[in-house]
Amino acid sequence: MRKYAYLARLEEMLAPLSAQELQEALNYYEEYFDAAGNENEEKTAEELGDPAKVARKILEGEGIDPSSQEEGTSPAEEKAQETAEVPPQQEPAVTPPAGPEPPPVEDPEHYSGTETGAATKKHKPYTKRLWLVFWLLVALALVVQVSVLLLGLGGRGGNSDFEVAESTAVSYQEETALATETASVQQDAGKIIYSSALDTPGKGTLFVNLSCGNVAFKTGDQAEIEVSGYDHASTVSYGKTVDYGYTLSCDSADPDTHVTITLPADAYNKVAVSVSTQGAIELGNLKIREISAYTANGSIQSGVLRTEHLRAATDLGNIWLEKVSDGVKYQVEQVELLAPTGYVAASFAAAEDQWQKEISAPEGLEQAMGENTESTKYFRTLRVVAADAVTLEYGIT
């Protein structure tokens, strides 16, 4: 098994861990592979042992009972857990059937649209259950967010981001949604006017161009898009670009348009979102090598992003990123956060001394000192422009 296949397998098995614990563990094993040398990947994987067993030990160490995650496994697998002497190939439930090793989902060399579907079906029962729990949580979070939004709209002032929304859409809100604060997302944000599965070529760029409205990204096995609002489906178009990429456009002028895009990890090489008049962008926990997000008026926020190049820009709004960290196959190299009229808050997994910084804020221009004698010391660049406070944290694990 090669390095990335091993790491992808490990990542899959370590799903019960928190994002932070998962990243730490993956960092350790990736570093281990790197230290052992690129030419020894197979041998190193053998030395480390079956990723399923390694994952089990890690889960035990973190106080998670691995057996509770594996209720659906066969008796043979449980036996293998108890007796360490059993050779690793006797693990039918965890290891796919004999024959050539299936290409892991995250392996770019084997990644293609058709194989994605096949790989998805290979998920273990407990993984499915975890996804179910995950989606329930996501749905819950959405309901909470929408009710907060509604309360904001119902109140007098409203937040500047949503003032336009209030003036143009409040009549709909009063009729339909205000009465039931915790009603389902679809009812609150109008109706679903468009929904479709997305291709996941594993390369190319997904362009998402909105004239007006909010965009939210979710991570999930099935790539899909859902547009809700009060406008007509004809405002939405989806098509292929020349180089494996896709373009999704929404010309609706309705500020309540809400585009939700679900993507598996590395579904594309790049995701480029642009909102040309007004709307917020929620990047979620995207795992995409290159991410570019622009909105003319609205905030940009994210959960834990795993990326190499990130550019977030808002002409009128704030940027708030929970965490920017390395992916399995790439490390964060370049981050640009531009909020010339707002604030920027972000945390980074990498330690501060790995960043070459250029920060333009009211307090003045802060630049990394020129004592960059060790050329390897800085291998990530960070550029920030903000009008209000800039809050940056480093080495957040």
């Binding site: 960092n27 350790y28 094993y29 042992g49 890690i58 330690a351 060790e374 291998f379």
Partner: protein
Amino acid sequence: MAFNTGAALLDAIVLAVVAREEHGTYGYKITQEVRQVLDLSESTLYPVLRRLQKDGCLTVRDEAYNGRNRRYYEVTAAGRTRLAEFRAEWDAYTSQINKLFKGELS
């Protein structure tokens, strides 16, 4: 080997290996050095390092190495105290067992 290496002994061994390096050492190197004295087949030290870190026996720092991150582990004062305790216990334990094996125990 007929004898198992339990969690406590593994902790002690890893602490001893890390303690040899004044400025800390990293995962791969620790593993290789432990392998010199112990058969570590099908075993990984990551959970051990995590445990010692959580117990405050080790601290970590990340350093760039060849454009990549490398995590260095260093023994804390608490870790050194723990290691000294382990050594004392080990001495007492082995001397008793040795006496028994050599027929010195009556």
